[in-house]
């Protein structure tokens, strides 16, 4: 049945990551930002700044032995002035270099005993930024077990991770380990280091559990959340609604009714449903074949002052085409086209297919042209879809399934 447009899922996760502060930027930007935002170390010895400047450029090469040599040289010559600013960028050469085999063992040998011990021995304590970079880089290369180990080791040494690092780790654990492992980790951190899961942690768990279509567990987590004294916020509700809507299939409107209830709960608890909320609900309704209801929802959404975004329109277009409501679909497409809105891969494919099914091949070509012109898709993707659809059309015509 209809699939959730790929950009939809990040809408949820980007709403989660919105909670991350700017000081802990994404790994690719870390070297620059760290050197600017590092607060305490105001002892701006010229050697230090030149060292950190050098660090950024020197460690760009993926060649591990030469980088090591360079580092040792710098350490030996500028002993007194090495501060945290140098170490933080040097902890993170890895995301800069191309994904070759060597960086990961390189990084591991760095961030594990040697480097941190060296830092501690030089009187510098790894701070939360260091921990964060280390964890993120480890997760990026898939060394998630090392990341967990590192966090525990650091927590033992009185350098506990902050909530952002903790949540990031939880999120990655959810992606590649079983749920019980994740729960185990959380319990461990709570017992040993008094690091408690917060609202964001719970939302991550609920999201993950919903993706595995385990709504019962999701509801149990909501219960736990309430017991821990947290009030579910917009993100939690959106996640739950998305969970219900993903379950939707077939002609029974059960799931979307449940999701609809949550919309009301959300409003009652004083939160404002946003575009994401409405889009997930629309998606659920479309999956159940109720595209017209989704259109009505669009109007309701606008009435309540919530501006639909590109994802909303794409979801709706996809739903209308799947439900074969081509008149409305083309109307919507026309509106999107005049607004210069980009098409998503799923809605583009569905639209082309729906048009071909009705024998409107020239219009399908038109959509192809628009997709290429608006750079919604690259040439290859747009053309491949068209070609595949036309091939399908030929067969369908032979079988009498299309005009």
């Amino acid at each position: 049945m209809g699939k959730v447009p790929p950009s939809f899922r990040p809408a949820i996760s980007s709403s989660l990551t919105r909670k991350l502060p700017l000081e802990i930027p994404t790994p690719n930007h870390i070297p620059e930002k760290i050197t600017k935002k590092k607060p305490p170390q105001h002892s701006r010895k010229p050697q230090a700044s030149s060292a950190s400047g050098k660090a950024k450029t020197l460690f760009k090469s993926p060649d591990l032995s030469s980088a090591k040599k360079v580092f040792n040289y710098i350490v030996a010559t500028t002993k007194s002035s090495i501060d945290l600013r140098f170490h933080n960028p040097s902890c993170n050469p890895m995301p800069q270099s191309p994904p070759s085999m060597t960086p990961s063992p390189f990084f591991i040998t760095w961030s594990k005993p040697n480097h941190f011990n060296m830092m501690v021995n030089n009187g510098l304590k790894p701070n939360q930024v260091t921990t964060d970079i280390a964890i993120r880089s480890l997760c990026e290369v898939g060394r998630i077990d090392h990341a967990v180990e590192l966090v525990k080791e650091l927590s033992l040494k009185q350098f506990p991770p902050d909530t952002y690092t903790f949540n990031f780790l939880v999120k990655n654990l959810c992606k590649c380990r079983t749920l019980s492992t994740v729960y185990g980790f959380i319990d461990d951190m709570k017992r040993s280091f008094d690091i408690k899961p917060d609202l964001v942690t719970y939302t991550i768990l609920i999201d993950n559990v919903c993706n595995s279509k385990n709504l019962r567990e999701a509801m149990r987590l909501v219960g736990v959340l309430n017991e821990s004294g947290f009030k579910p916020d917009c993100f939690v509700y959106n996640t739950i609604m998305k969970g219900y809507c993903m379950l939707s299939k077939g002609s029974e409107a059960i799931e979307s009714k449940e999701a609809r209830k949550y919309l009301d709960i959300l409003v009652e608890s004083g939160h404002l449903p946003d575009a994401v909320t409405y889009t997930s609900l629309m998606n659920g309704m479309c999956r159940e074949g109720n595209a017209l209801g989704a259109v009505v929802l669009l109007k309701e959404m606008e009435r309540k002052g919530c501006t639909p975004n590109s994802c909303t329109y794409n979801t709706l277009l996809h739903g209308l085409c799947k439900c074969r409501l081509m008149e409305k679909g083309m109307e919507l497409y026309g509106a999107m086209k005049s607004a210069g809105m980009k098409l998503e891969t799923a809605s583009y494919a569905t639209l082309v297919r729906a048009l071909c099914r009705e024998g409107r091949v020239a219009e399908a070509y038109d959509v192809f042209d628009y997709a290429v012109e608006s750079k919604s898709l690259n040439d290859v993707a747009a053309y491949s879809t068209l070609e595949v659809t036309l091939k399908w059309l030929k067969k369908a015509r032979e079988q009498g399934l299309a005009v």
């Binding site: 799923a346 494919a349 569905t350 070509y365 040439d379 290859v380 053309y383 879809t385 036309l390």
Partner: protein
């Protein structure tokens, strides 16, 4: 369903992708039409399609049909009328068939 199959067509299938975008030495009719000695199947399609649009070769009564002029006939099997639906298939004929080896 369709989007998933598509992902397999494009990204997971490097052979098919190469088939589409690799430059190929062309037989003379196509070479004349395109004005280049090499072109990819994708590039060729884009050229033909824009040629059709620029010269208004679509039948005004039925835009799904194309009335071929002499140039177009030379590469579309001499047909004077062609359906838009068959355009990619016709163009594909000019391009070497990739032997299907055990995947």
């Amino acid at each position: 369903m369709l989007p998933q199959r598509l992902k397999k067509t494009i990204t997971d299938n490097p052979k098919k992708l190469a088939n589409l975008i690799d430059l190929v030495n062309l037989p003379s009719p196509v070479r004349e039409f395109v004005g280049q000695s090499q072109i990819s199947r994708l590039g060729c399609f884009m050229r033909v399609w824009s040629y059709i649009k620029e010269n208004n070769l679509q039948d005004p009564n039925n835009k799904n049909l194309v009335n071929c002029d002499e140039k177009l006939k030379s590469i579309l099997l001499g047909k004077s009328r062609v359906e838009l639906a068959e355009l990619p298939a016709l163009i594909k004929l000019h391009f070497p068939k990739v032997p299907k080896s055990a995947t």
